[in-house]
Assembly symmetry: C2
Homo-oligomer: 114 residues x 2
């Protein structure tokens, strides 16, 4: 996506980007994705890593991410039943964008101007 | 940000990333940033590039971005008064993350699995 100097109205808006940025940026979704990218696989691992995240909200966001094809939910018929979450290829492919935004946050937050 | 295989609970959550991803991902903010990155400088340029974006919502989001130090608003004492918006260094530095997410959206949306 070359960023023009003049105003490039045709390429300024992209509905797919619009959907993606508001999906990833939805309340809690970004930090849940980041936890998964950091290797979390269990519900309690994700919930306990993220302050103030409730079970109800985490369940809702994981269902949305499943519906988007970003996360899979695998149930193992054990006693007790075991549930593991994993990023799909589509989910893992978000790593570059999440890392890039994380690095931006590190650069600008550390200067204390927020 | 190295992505561990095992679960890296200490680095799984970052409050600065949490703030950043929900700032950029807020309703309309991502596509407004993208329009600015594509060279938009005037209020009407941004509004007309983004379907269904209202004046009221665009004004609110531009004020938030100004408060975050991501956008500047320059008033030229002309007849009529001229207002130009521009990304700050902090704002321009979002380009990599926005581009990365745009590319992700292009990759995955084009396969029609959304």
């Amino acid at each position: 996506m070359a960023l023009a100097d003049g105003f490039d109205v045709d390429r300024a808006f992209c509905p797919d980007f619009h959907h993606a940025v508001e999906l990833v940026g939805r309340r809690w979704t970004g930090v849940i994705l980041r936890a998964l990218l950091h290797g979390a696989t269990r519900f309690t691992q994700i919930r306990d890593a993220i302050p103030e995240l409730t079970d109800k909200m985490l369940s809702a966001r994981l269902r949305e991410l499943e519906a988007e094809g970003i996360v899979t939910r695998r149930v193992t018929d054990d006693v007790p039943v075991r549930v593991d979450y994993a990023l799909t290829e589509k989910g893992r492919d978000l790593s570059a964008a999440i890392t890039s935004l994380s690095d931006w946050a590190d650069r600008w937050a550390t200067t204390g101007d927020r």
